[in-house]
């Protein structure tokens, strides 16, 4: 029984160690550069949405004029 508990602890420990060894973009979050990426993609999204809104308005105008 003791061996089993010990083994399961060891297994859990290796899982945790493995999980921490995976390279992730941790530094990007620490120094906040990830917010630069978010700013860029949000700007692109805003541009596309503004384009859609303008298109929608133009079509509405044409529908009224007919």
């Amino acid at each position: 029984m003791k061996k089993l508990i010990l083994a399961s602890f060891f297994l859990l420990f290796t899982f945790i160690v493995n999980a921490q060894n995976v390279t992730m973009a941790d530094q990007m979050k620490e120094n906040g550069k990830i917010y630069v990426v978010i700013a860029v993609i949000l700007t692109i999204l805003a541009g596309l949405v503004l384009y859609l809104i303008r298109l929608d308005r133009k079509i509405s105008k044409l529908e009224k004029n007919k």
């Binding site: 995976v22 929608d56 079509i59 509405s60």
Partner: protein, 231 residues
């Protein structure tokens, strides 16, 4: 702008997806690393495509039942945006797989033989080509009523083809793609943590609403165009 609350909702959901999708904690998966965040973009393209194709299918049936021309226009435009979403899903999948599936000891070019055998890729390509044939078939018929009727019937067949080609066959075969012979391609609890769903479900809704918005714009444009022709 017409009936704009759901358009605003779609945009807000996408803004949330873009911010939370890059900031939430994700599982530390040694194969995927940070690319697991593509779940909020790549997978949502396929969900959006599926929903748009369902709408297109329903409008095709409505056309056959009522014979109203508006349903034919709507069916065609929803299928068009659905194909766009499918192509984007395919392209984003190609980029994602180039960094996660290939054998690290071989170049991407040399790994192509294993990647090209992926049942998920072949199934998705079949589904998209069947829908591409829908567009070709439509444009090859001059008579308006005949075109509407034949393409509505073909749309129903194309929709039926989606099930074996993207839902059934790829799930029976082993694949590098998640959700092959076991599990689920999008909601696998082994790779996606519960808090990822807090972003994933809103992302599906947001992308789908944007797709519906584009489709409605195209439908309204088409109606205006045909009114001008008939004047």
């Amino acid at each position: 702008m017409r009936k704009s609350w759901w358009k605003i909702l779609g945009v807000l959901l996408l803004v949330y997806t873009f911010i939370a999708g890059l900031l939430i904690e994700v599982p530390r998966n040694p194969q995927l690393q940070e690319t697991i965040r593509n779940l909020f973009f790549h997978v949502c393209m396929w969900f959006g495509m599926m929903i748009l194709f369902i709408v297109s299918f329903v409008r095709a049936i409505m056309y056959l039942r009522t014979g109203k021309h508006i349903h034919d226009i709507a069916s065609r435009q929803y299928a068009g945006v659905g194909i766009l979403f499918g192509l984007l899903g395919y392209l984003t999948g190609a980029i994602w797989m180039s960094y996660t599936w290939i054998d690290p000891n071989r170049s991407l070019f040399n790994s192509f033989d294993t990647v090209a055998r992926e049942p998920k890729l072949i199934g998705a390509a079949i589904a998209l080509l069947v829908y591409a044939a829908y567009l070709v078939l439509r444009d090859s018929i001059q008579d308006m009523d005949k075109r509407a009727r034949i393409s509505a019937v073909y749309n129903i067949f194309a929709f039926a083809m989606l099930f074996p080609s993207i839902w059934i066959i790829p799930r029976l075969l082993d694949s590098l793609h998640p959700g092959g012979s076991e599990g689920n391609p999008a909601l696998d609890p082994g790779s996606a943590s519960p808090n990822m769903r807090l972003v994933f479900y809103p992302a599906i809704a947001g992308w789908t609403l944007i797709g519906v918005w584009i489709a409605t714009l195209k439908i309204r444009m088409k109606i205006l165009y045909e009114q001008k022709l008939s004047q």
